[in-house]
Amino acid sequence: MWLAILVAAVGCYALKLAGLSLPQRVLANPSVERIADFIPVALLAALIAVQVWSAGPSLAIDARTAALAFAVAALLLRAPFLVVVIGAAVVAALVRLV
Protein backbone atom coordinates (compact mmCIF):
# COMPACT_ATOMS: atom_id res chain seq x y z
CA MET A 1 0.00 0.00 0.00
CA TRP A 2 2.76 2.44 0.94
CA LEU A 3 4.58 1.83 -2.33
CA ALA A 4 1.39 2.59 -4.27
CA ILE A 5 0.90 5.80 -2.26
CA LEU A 6 4.45 6.89 -3.10
CA VAL A 7 4.01 6.03 -6.79
CA ALA A 8 0.79 8.06 -6.91
CA ALA A 9 2.49 10.97 -5.12
CA VAL A 10 5.54 11.03 -7.39
CA GLY A 11 3.41 10.59 -10.51
CA CYS A 12 0.94 13.34 -9.61
CA TYR A 13 3.72 15.76 -8.61
CA ALA A 14 5.68 15.06 -11.79
CA LEU A 15 2.58 15.88 -13.86
CA LYS A 16 2.06 19.18 -12.02
CA LEU A 17 5.71 20.21 -12.46
CA ALA A 18 5.76 19.07 -16.09
CA GLY A 19 2.77 21.30 -16.81
CA LEU A 20 4.52 24.35 -15.41
CA SER A 21 7.79 23.50 -17.19
CA LEU A 22 6.94 22.09 -20.63
CA PRO A 23 7.10 24.40 -23.65
CA GLN A 24 3.76 25.91 -24.59
CA ARG A 25 3.75 24.34 -28.05
CA VAL A 26 2.74 20.97 -26.55
CA LEU A 27 -0.77 22.39 -26.31
CA ALA A 28 -0.66 23.24 -30.00
CA ASN A 29 -1.01 19.55 -30.86
CA PRO A 30 -4.80 19.13 -31.16
CA SER A 31 -4.77 15.39 -30.39
CA VAL A 32 -2.87 15.94 -27.15
CA GLU A 33 -5.26 18.65 -26.05
CA ARG A 34 -8.38 16.62 -26.92
CA ILE A 35 -7.15 13.46 -25.22
CA ALA A 36 -6.18 15.48 -22.14
CA ASP A 37 -9.67 16.97 -22.07
CA PHE A 38 -11.34 13.56 -22.48
CA ILE A 39 -9.30 11.68 -19.84
CA PRO A 40 -10.94 13.20 -16.77
CA VAL A 41 -14.40 12.84 -18.36
CA ALA A 42 -13.88 9.15 -19.16
CA LEU A 43 -12.26 8.27 -15.82
CA LEU A 44 -14.79 10.13 -13.69
CA ALA A 45 -17.70 8.58 -15.57
CA ALA A 46 -16.18 5.11 -15.15
CA LEU A 47 -15.49 5.73 -11.46
CA ILE A 48 -19.11 6.80 -10.91
CA ALA A 49 -20.44 3.72 -12.70
CA VAL A 50 -18.19 1.30 -10.80
CA GLN A 51 -18.74 3.05 -7.48
CA VAL A 52 -22.52 3.05 -7.80
CA TRP A 53 -23.40 -0.15 -9.66
CA SER A 54 -20.77 -2.73 -8.76
CA ALA A 55 -20.70 -4.97 -5.70
CA GLY A 56 -17.50 -6.98 -5.83
CA PRO A 57 -17.45 -8.83 -9.18
CA SER A 58 -21.18 -8.41 -9.84
CA LEU A 59 -23.46 -5.52 -10.77
CA ALA A 60 -26.13 -4.27 -8.38
CA ILE A 61 -28.82 -1.61 -8.11
CA ASP A 62 -29.29 -0.55 -4.47
CA ALA A 63 -29.39 2.49 -2.18
CA ARG A 64 -26.40 4.00 -4.02
CA THR A 65 -28.54 4.39 -7.16
CA ALA A 66 -31.05 6.45 -5.17
CA ALA A 67 -28.15 8.56 -3.86
CA LEU A 68 -26.92 9.17 -7.40
CA ALA A 69 -30.42 10.15 -8.51
CA PHE A 70 -30.50 12.68 -5.69
CA ALA A 71 -27.11 14.01 -6.81
CA VAL A 72 -28.38 14.48 -10.39
CA ALA A 73 -31.45 16.35 -9.16
CA ALA A 74 -29.38 18.53 -6.82
CA LEU A 75 -26.90 19.38 -9.60
CA LEU A 76 -29.76 20.26 -11.97
CA LEU A 77 -30.98 22.68 -9.29
CA ARG A 78 -27.44 24.10 -9.07
CA ALA A 79 -27.01 23.07 -5.45
CA PRO A 80 -23.56 23.66 -3.93
CA PHE A 81 -21.01 20.84 -3.90
CA LEU A 82 -21.41 19.97 -0.23
CA VAL A 83 -25.21 19.76 -0.46
CA VAL A 84 -24.83 17.31 -3.34
CA VAL A 85 -22.34 15.09 -1.50
CA ILE A 86 -23.85 15.13 1.98
CA GLY A 87 -27.40 14.91 0.63
CA ALA A 88 -26.47 11.82 -1.39
CA ALA A 89 -25.03 10.17 1.74
CA VAL A 90 -28.18 10.97 3.69
CA VAL A 91 -30.43 9.57 0.93
CA ALA A 92 -28.44 6.30 0.84
CA ALA A 93 -28.54 6.01 4.63
CA LEU A 94 -32.33 6.62 4.68
CA VAL A 95 -33.02 4.11 1.90
CA ARG A 96 -31.06 1.49 3.86
CA LEU A 97 -33.10 2.21 6.98
CA VAL A 98 -36.40 1.58 5.20
Binding site: M1, W2, L3, A4, I5, A8, A9, G11, C12, Y13, L15, K16, L17, A18, G19, L20, S21, L22, L27, S31, R34, I35, A36, D37, F38, I39, V41, A42, L43, L44, A45, A46, I48, A49, V50, Q51, W53, S54, G56, P57, S58, L59, A63, R64, A67, L68, F70, V72, L75, P80, L82, V84, V85, I86, A89, V90, V91, A92, A93, R96
Partner: protein, 230 residues
Protein backbone atom coordinates in the same frame (compact mmCIF):
# COMPACT_ATOMS: atom_id res chain seq x y z
CA UNK B 1 11.19 41.54 -7.45
CA UNK B 2 10.19 44.53 -9.53
CA UNK B 3 6.55 43.68 -10.02
CA UNK B 4 4.08 46.47 -9.34
CA UNK B 5 2.38 45.87 -5.98
CA UNK B 6 -1.36 45.34 -5.82
CA UNK B 7 -3.79 47.88 -4.36
CA UNK B 8 -4.80 46.92 -0.80
CA UNK B 9 -8.47 46.35 -1.66
CA UNK B 10 -7.65 43.92 -4.46
CA UNK B 11 -5.18 42.07 -2.20
CA UNK B 12 -7.69 41.55 0.59
CA UNK B 13 -10.45 40.55 -1.85
CA UNK B 14 -8.22 37.86 -3.36
CA UNK B 15 -7.16 36.55 0.06
CA UNK B 16 -10.75 36.54 1.34
CA UNK B 17 -11.89 34.47 -1.66
CA UNK B 18 -8.95 32.12 -1.15
CA UNK B 19 -9.90 31.42 2.44
CA UNK B 20 -13.54 30.83 1.46
CA UNK B 21 -12.46 28.29 -1.16
CA UNK B 22 -10.15 26.67 1.40
CA UNK B 23 -12.96 26.27 3.93
CA UNK B 24 -15.30 24.74 1.33
CA UNK B 25 -12.74 22.17 0.13
CA UNK B 26 -11.67 21.54 3.72
CA UNK B 27 -15.19 20.38 4.53
CA UNK B 28 -14.94 18.02 1.60
CA UNK B 29 -11.59 16.78 2.99
CA UNK B 30 -13.40 15.46 6.05
CA UNK B 31 -15.36 13.09 3.84
CA UNK B 32 -12.12 12.05 2.12
CA UNK B 33 -10.50 11.15 5.46
CA UNK B 34 -13.56 9.22 6.62
CA UNK B 35 -14.00 7.29 3.37
CA UNK B 36 -10.25 6.58 3.17
CA UNK B 37 -10.13 4.74 6.49
CA UNK B 38 -13.38 2.93 5.73
CA UNK B 39 -11.77 1.73 2.46
CA UNK B 40 -9.07 0.02 4.49
CA UNK B 41 -6.32 2.64 4.73
CA UNK B 42 -4.69 3.54 8.03
CA UNK B 43 -5.02 7.08 9.38
CA UNK B 44 -1.37 7.69 8.51
CA UNK B 45 -1.91 6.47 4.93
CA UNK B 46 -4.95 8.73 4.50
CA UNK B 47 -2.91 11.72 5.69
CA UNK B 48 0.05 10.76 3.48
CA UNK B 49 -2.24 10.80 0.44
CA UNK B 50 -3.48 14.30 1.25
CA UNK B 51 0.01 15.65 1.98
CA UNK B 52 1.90 14.00 -0.87
CA UNK B 53 -0.61 13.40 -3.68
CA UNK B 54 -2.66 16.51 -2.88
CA UNK B 55 -5.20 16.49 -5.70
CA UNK B 56 -8.70 15.56 -4.59
CA UNK B 57 -10.10 13.63 -7.55
CA UNK B 58 -6.95 11.47 -7.78
CA UNK B 59 -7.07 10.73 -4.06
CA UNK B 60 -10.74 9.72 -4.23
CA UNK B 61 -9.97 7.57 -7.28
CA UNK B 62 -7.16 5.85 -5.36
CA UNK B 63 -9.35 4.92 -2.41
CA UNK B 64 -12.28 4.13 -4.73
CA UNK B 65 -10.22 1.42 -6.43
CA UNK B 66 -8.99 0.09 -3.06
CA UNK B 67 -12.54 0.06 -1.67
CA UNK B 68 -13.72 -1.97 -4.67
CA UNK B 69 -11.04 -4.55 -3.80
CA UNK B 70 -8.53 -3.50 -6.45
CA UNK B 71 -4.75 -3.73 -6.21
CA UNK B 72 -3.13 -0.62 -4.69
CA UNK B 73 -1.06 -0.16 -7.86
CA UNK B 74 -4.17 0.06 -10.08
CA UNK B 75 -5.35 2.70 -7.62
CA UNK B 76 -2.09 4.58 -8.11
CA UNK B 77 -2.32 4.33 -11.91
CA UNK B 78 -5.91 5.64 -11.93
CA UNK B 79 -4.84 8.49 -9.64
CA UNK B 80 -1.97 9.41 -11.97
CA UNK B 81 -4.17 9.29 -15.07
CA UNK B 82 -6.64 11.66 -13.39
CA UNK B 83 -3.70 13.86 -12.41
CA UNK B 84 -2.92 14.58 -16.07
CA UNK B 85 -5.47 17.36 -15.80
CA UNK B 86 -3.07 19.26 -13.51
CA UNK B 87 -0.36 19.16 -16.19
CA UNK B 88 -2.81 20.91 -18.47
CA UNK B 89 -3.54 23.54 -15.86
CA UNK B 90 0.21 24.09 -15.51
CA UNK B 91 0.63 24.63 -19.22
CA UNK B 92 -2.06 27.28 -19.13
CA UNK B 93 -0.80 29.00 -15.98
CA UNK B 94 2.96 29.03 -16.71
CA UNK B 95 2.93 32.20 -18.86
CA UNK B 96 0.73 33.91 -16.28
CA UNK B 97 2.73 33.05 -13.15
CA UNK B 98 6.21 33.37 -14.74
CA UNK B 99 7.99 31.66 -11.84
CA UNK B 100 11.61 30.63 -12.40
CA UNK B 101 13.42 27.48 -11.15
CA UNK B 102 13.10 26.78 -7.44
CA UNK B 103 9.86 28.71 -6.94
CA UNK B 104 8.25 26.73 -9.73
CA UNK B 105 9.35 23.44 -8.14
CA UNK B 106 7.74 24.49 -4.85
CA UNK B 107 4.60 25.96 -6.45
CA UNK B 108 3.95 22.77 -8.43
CA UNK B 109 2.67 20.87 -5.38
CA UNK B 110 -0.24 23.31 -4.90
CA UNK B 111 -1.19 23.30 -8.59
CA UNK B 112 -4.78 21.99 -8.37
CA UNK B 113 -8.29 22.78 -9.64
CA UNK B 114 -8.90 25.50 -7.05
CA UNK B 115 -5.59 27.38 -7.31
CA UNK B 116 -5.95 27.30 -11.10
CA UNK B 117 -9.49 28.64 -11.03
CA UNK B 118 -8.45 31.47 -8.68
CA UNK B 119 -5.46 32.61 -10.76
CA UNK B 120 -6.33 31.93 -14.40
CA UNK B 121 -8.70 34.90 -14.65
CA UNK B 122 -6.36 37.59 -13.19
CA UNK B 123 -5.11 40.42 -15.36
CA UNK B 124 -1.65 40.91 -13.84
CA UNK B 125 1.22 38.65 -12.83
CA UNK B 126 1.07 39.88 -9.21
CA UNK B 127 -2.65 39.18 -8.92
CA UNK B 128 -2.31 35.76 -10.55
CA UNK B 129 0.54 34.80 -8.19
CA UNK B 130 -1.34 36.01 -5.12
CA UNK B 131 -4.51 34.18 -6.17
CA UNK B 132 -2.54 31.01 -6.83
CA UNK B 133 -0.50 31.07 -3.61
CA UNK B 134 -3.23 32.15 -1.22
CA UNK B 135 -5.77 29.66 -2.61
CA UNK B 136 -3.24 26.84 -2.92
CA UNK B 137 -1.95 27.30 0.63
CA UNK B 138 -5.41 27.78 2.18
CA UNK B 139 -6.65 24.58 0.53
CA UNK B 140 -3.44 22.71 1.42
CA UNK B 141 -3.64 23.56 5.13
CA UNK B 142 -7.39 22.99 5.51
CA UNK B 143 -7.52 19.91 3.28
CA UNK B 144 -4.82 18.18 5.33
CA UNK B 145 -6.28 19.17 8.69
CA UNK B 146 -9.70 17.99 7.48
CA UNK B 147 -8.30 14.67 6.24
CA UNK B 148 -6.89 13.96 9.69
CA UNK B 149 -10.16 14.95 11.37
CA UNK B 150 -12.17 12.83 8.93
CA UNK B 151 -9.86 9.83 9.33
CA UNK B 152 -10.16 10.03 13.12
CA UNK B 153 -13.95 10.36 12.88
CA UNK B 154 -14.10 7.55 10.31
CA UNK B 155 -12.36 5.11 12.64
CA UNK B 156 -14.77 6.12 15.40
CA UNK B 157 -18.08 5.68 13.51
CA UNK B 158 -17.47 2.13 12.28
CA UNK B 159 -19.26 0.93 9.13
CA UNK B 160 -19.51 3.95 6.79
CA UNK B 161 -22.42 2.34 4.94
CA UNK B 162 -24.67 3.20 7.87
CA UNK B 163 -24.20 6.88 7.07
CA UNK B 164 -24.23 6.41 3.31
CA UNK B 165 -20.61 7.52 3.06
CA UNK B 166 -19.92 4.97 0.34
CA UNK B 167 -22.63 6.59 -1.80
CA UNK B 168 -21.16 10.04 -1.21
CA UNK B 169 -18.12 9.16 -3.33
CA UNK B 170 -20.19 8.59 -6.48
CA UNK B 171 -21.98 11.88 -5.87
CA UNK B 172 -18.66 13.69 -5.42
CA UNK B 173 -17.36 12.30 -8.72
CA UNK B 174 -20.59 13.31 -10.45
CA UNK B 175 -20.28 16.86 -9.10
CA UNK B 176 -16.72 17.04 -10.44
CA UNK B 177 -17.82 15.68 -13.82
CA UNK B 178 -20.99 17.79 -14.11
CA UNK B 179 -19.56 20.99 -15.69
CA UNK B 180 -17.96 18.97 -18.52
CA UNK B 181 -21.28 17.35 -19.37
CA UNK B 182 -22.55 20.61 -20.86
CA UNK B 183 -20.57 19.63 -23.99
CA UNK B 184 -22.17 17.01 -26.25
CA UNK B 185 -19.00 15.06 -27.12
CA UNK B 186 -18.15 14.78 -23.41
CA UNK B 187 -21.58 13.24 -22.78
CA UNK B 188 -20.84 10.61 -25.42
CA UNK B 189 -17.39 9.87 -23.95
CA UNK B 190 -18.84 9.66 -20.43
CA UNK B 191 -21.60 7.20 -21.38
CA UNK B 192 -19.21 5.01 -23.39
CA UNK B 193 -16.62 5.01 -20.59
CA UNK B 194 -19.22 4.09 -17.97
CA UNK B 195 -20.56 1.30 -20.20
CA UNK B 196 -17.08 -0.13 -20.87
CA UNK B 197 -16.22 -0.04 -17.16
CA UNK B 198 -19.45 -1.76 -16.09
CA UNK B 199 -19.09 -4.32 -18.87
CA UNK B 200 -15.67 -5.28 -17.55
CA UNK B 201 -16.59 -5.44 -13.85
CA UNK B 202 -17.63 -9.14 -13.87
CA UNK B 203 -14.58 -10.30 -15.85
CA UNK B 204 -11.56 -8.34 -14.63
CA UNK B 205 -9.75 -7.54 -11.38
CA UNK B 206 -11.12 -4.49 -9.57
CA UNK B 207 -9.37 -1.33 -10.74
CA UNK B 208 -8.99 -2.57 -14.31
CA UNK B 209 -12.44 -1.41 -15.53
CA UNK B 210 -11.71 2.23 -14.66
CA UNK B 211 -8.26 2.16 -16.27
CA UNK B 212 -9.69 0.51 -19.39
CA UNK B 213 -12.28 3.26 -19.63
CA UNK B 214 -9.34 5.67 -19.94
CA UNK B 215 -8.79 4.01 -23.33
CA UNK B 216 -12.09 5.55 -24.47
CA UNK B 217 -10.54 8.99 -23.94
CA UNK B 218 -7.57 7.98 -26.06
CA UNK B 219 -9.75 6.59 -28.87
CA UNK B 220 -12.13 9.55 -28.81
CA UNK B 221 -9.23 12.01 -28.94
CA UNK B 222 -7.56 10.25 -31.87
CA UNK B 223 -10.69 9.41 -33.85
CA UNK B 224 -12.15 12.91 -33.83
CA UNK B 225 -9.22 14.29 -35.77
CA UNK B 226 -10.07 13.21 -39.35
CA UNK B 227 -13.64 14.43 -38.96
CA UNK B 228 -12.46 17.89 -37.97
CA UNK B 229 -9.87 18.21 -40.72
CA UNK B 230 -12.27 17.41 -43.49
Amino acid sequence: MSLPSLPGAERSAIIRDAIAVGVATGAYGISFGAVAVSSGLSILQACALSLLVFTGASQFAFIGVIAAGGAPMSGAMTAILLGTRNALYGLRLAPLLQWPGVRRVAAAQILIDESTAMSANRDSVSAARLGFLSTGLAVFVLWNAATLAGALAGTAIGDPRTYGLDAAVGAAFLALLWPSLAVRRNQVVAVLAAAVALGLVPFTAAGVPVLAAGGIALLAGLLRRPVEER
